[in-house]
Symmetry: C2
Subunit: 247 residues, 2 copies
């Protein structure tokens, strides 16, 4: 714990961009910059959804032709990567306190979830992506300084970072899929669930004794509970690593 360094964890402003993502031309001031493009893209995505975020729509938002964007950005995928990293920067990591690693890990997961629900379709662009900019360095450092003193092996921490990202992203992805296509299933969601539940209860008792009884459990609990369960299960698993005899 450094007491005199007030630098927040998320402040990455003075870190250099990695070489593979330097701006093609660091010109001084121009109306159209990567910064402005990413801003606009995020704006469109948050207000109209990622499905409506086309290069033409983005050009319109910027008062510019669609083709112009391609001078600043290699292709749409690179643009989405930039938007993704911008979003990840919103995470505010508290100073790591290893004695409270379980709570802090839970809070971190909660914060990730909050970010994804703040930006409606962020999850749709998150899967298969990992931050490659300064953000990944900050996250990694935070995770290691939280879990290493807790006695968790390095390799486990490393894998865990991936795993949490995957879980958080996938969970939010599913959510945004369901929300994003209203009226896709004919019956409204609740009614549909009831139909499935009835189906499960109507199964032959001799071959599906457990399922009939467990139908209620299957559909119990809200999204938040399910999310928390996944995180909790991971933390419980992690604890078994921490409790390991030293060495």
């Amino acid at each position: 714990m450094q007491e005199d360094a007030p630098r927040p964890w998320r402040d990455t402003g003075d870190l250099p961009d990695p070489p593979w993502r330097a701006e093609r031309r660091p010109s001084s001031r121009v109306p159209l910059t990567r910064q402005a493009i990413v801003d606009a893209a995020l704006r469109v995505m948050d207000s109209e959804g990622v499905d409506r975020l086309s290069m033409r729509r983005l050009g319109e938002e910027l008062g510019v032709g669609a083709a112009s964007i391609y001078w600043h950005v290699r292709n749409k995928d690179e643009l989405l990567q930039l938007v993704f990293e911008r979003i990840m920067e919103e995470a505010e990591l508290p100073p790591p306190d290893p004695s409270r690693w379980q709570e802090q890990l839970g809070e971190f997961a909660g914060q990730m979830r909050a970010i994804f629900s703040r930006h409606r379709d962020a999850a749709r662009i998150s899967l298969g992506r990992a931050p490659t900019g300064p953000v990944i360095a900050v996250f990694t450092e935070w995770l290691f300084s939280l879990l290493r003193p807790a006695g968790i092996p390095d390799q486990v921490i490393a894998y865990l970072g991936d795993l949490i990202g995957l879980y958080v992203g996938a969970f939010a992805f599913e959510e945004s899929l369901r929300a994003g296509s209203p009226g896709l299933q004919d019956p409204p969601p609740g009614e549909f669930l009831d139909m499935v539940k009835d189906y499960l209860r109507s199964l032959p008792e001799d071959r599906f004794p457990h399922t009939r009884q467990a139908a209620d459990f299957l559909f119990a609990g809200g999204r938040d509970d399910r999310y928390a369960f996944g995180i909790d299960l991971m933390i419980r698993g992690l604890k078994t690593f921490a409790d390991q005899p030293p060495r």
Copy 2:
């Protein structure tokens, strides 16, 4: 039909048409059914990838116009749901043996992974989908009869089913994203990883002491190891539920 009446000259029913006047629809073609459509879709998806599975391509595979498919299937999404359930049916569950629940759970996860790697892009259509047919009943029953005797609470089992599906799907999803877009990143994957690793090592030592040391761990291990880690972590977490005092 009169069998003994002299056949009129114009009755050529049993003669084959000359090639220049062949029937537009050769009788050899299978009739268009949902079954056949799903088969063809899976065939195209496995051999050319889901990106190339367009309605036009599918029509071509079936020797049929794209529009015809819409008579049998509401839209592409419904078609993909059918393909997904077909794939899920490939899982073969061993008779549950609660005394070996940890191994069997691991084997189940392995089998899911095998299915997803057998069908290259299956994961791309799996997220946000759950089987709604008989498959879900079989899976549920298997899981409960495996874990209930092990002392794991019903609600935990119920959530776990979801969680495993999410994890397996998401993991395979990421994999197929990476494999599906070759040459999307300019440097080949390995080289790109090296660049990231170098970047992490070049960070200022005072602010990123752990990250610099842990760079190797971050990129160590293959996909299989990472997958197994996630499953292992879940099982470890589950065990803490099983070891719970009986009430």
